[in-house]
Symmetry: C2
Subunit: 258 residues, 2 copies
């Protein structure tokens, strides 16, 4: 195996603990020892002891009634540290707020991790529709507006890597042809914004623009997301304009000029 030397000297008990943590999801935020043991193929006692250790440091907390575990506050504390030290996060809060008020749709700040886009910040609009993203969510870059912006401004090596990756059709609108996608990304870079019209989720459209740091590198993207009934094709341009303005304002604050 190729990855052998990488995985060789990993600590298995630590790895177990991390896999346990990552098995918590939006849909299953509570877990029992036996469930975890079964789903991860670990022994009950191993899981029990791992959970005790995680609980002792506040990474999970146990409901004494139901004996179920949920993620603990230590994780919130760590996420707070990540945010406090992410320049984009600091500078974007008020601008995001203005944008959400103006457009009336939920906005995200995202960064690229490999070929995925990760939402590091989210500000919800007032519409009562519950949304499907959350901070930390990982989505494929090639079919989301934020992802396309980030990839489009990445180096050619990264673009190639993505074009050669599996381009699964999430909806009938997903661009799965590498050539077409390549041309599409070129246009995204030229025009300074990207949109995704139901390319990832049926009925969901989004528009995104790049955020630059002081070196002129694109380090994040700003996007607005909403149902296709509200983000209609003929509104792309005017909304894009506002998104670009906001993203540029954030870039300004990060020391970008020109």
């Amino acid at each position: 195996m190729d990855a052998k030397n990488n995985e060789n000297h990993l600590l298995s008990s630590v790895r177990n603990a991390l896999l346990i943590l990552q098995s918590f999801t939006m849909d299953e935020p509570e877990k029992k020892v036996s469930d975890l043991a079964a789903s991860l193929g670990l022994n009950k006692s191993t899981v029990s002891r791992t959970m005790s250790t995680l609980a002792s440091e506040g990474f999970v907390s146990k409901d004494p009634e139901t004996k179920k575990y949920r993620l603990g506050f230590s994780i919130l504390a760590l996420s707070g540290i990540i945010n406090s030290n992410t320049d984009v996060y600091q500078e974007s809060q008020p601008i995001l707020k203005k944008l959400v008020e103006d457009i009336g749709e939920t906005a995200h700040i995202s960064v690229l991790d490999n070929l995925d886009v990760i939402y590091i910040q989210k500000l919800e609009c007032n519409h009562p529709v519950r949304f499907l993203t959350h901070v930390g969510k990982r989505n494929p870059a090639y079919c989301t507006s934020s992802g396309k912006v980030l990839i489009a401004h990445a180096d050619e090596r990264k673009i190639q890597q993505m074009l050669e990756s599996e381009l699964n059709p999430f909806t009938k609108y997903t661009i799965t042809n590498p050539k077409e996608l390549h041309a599409h990304l070129k246009k995204v870079k030229e025009e300074g914004f990207a949109f995704s019209m139901e390319e990832f989720l049926e009925g969901v459209n989004s528009i995104a623009a790049p955020i630059y740091d002081y070196t002129g590198k694109v380090i994040a993207s700003l996007s607005v997301v909403g149902p296709k009934q509200r983000i209609e094709p003929n509104k792309i341009r005017p909304i894009a304009k506002k998104v670009i303005n906001a993203s540029m304002e954030i870039s300004d604050r990060l020391g970008y000029w020109r």
Copy 2:
């Protein structure tokens, strides 16, 4: 020792990993292997392997240039799951937004963990003053407005427990006399809000009100924080009124009536 049986069967390598994660702070968001080894009294190689394992699951990420580690996106993802499954979090976003606009100060939602208050949500105002809290921050309950609200509505056993705990004077305004604090809490419960005038941090005032769930239990608190120049004593009542209105609106959304 009493805690012996508890700590007996904890997994030490997992514990090391968690201690490493928790050693990241706002002031030191980046760490080197040797620093970690020194500060935690662990062997270099132990830390190196632990970090590799943490990195392999995205809990930390290594800057290939500087070889320094920082907290990774997996933690953000987990925090997103916590938030998505916290009703208060879901329902409070827009209301928090309105409140911050109205008052012009930073607002927090907090919950109680033992005798500490933990900020689970924060919305910053536009004032350029950088603030000293972050999501996940843990502060003593007895000298913060949010903490006093939460303790005041807890059961008598908890209140006693707090009164018997160490009441350190963070400033000259901190209430350290148990009797006085008890009376103070009683008033907080009667009036339906709490304030802290420099009781925790010099020059920083705050005002908080309780958030109720559908069972009528106080599960969180809403607070606004700002410098004493802006949150002056004569403004306590009018601000408190607005905070209470907002917290009640959140409670409404959580199904609280009456």
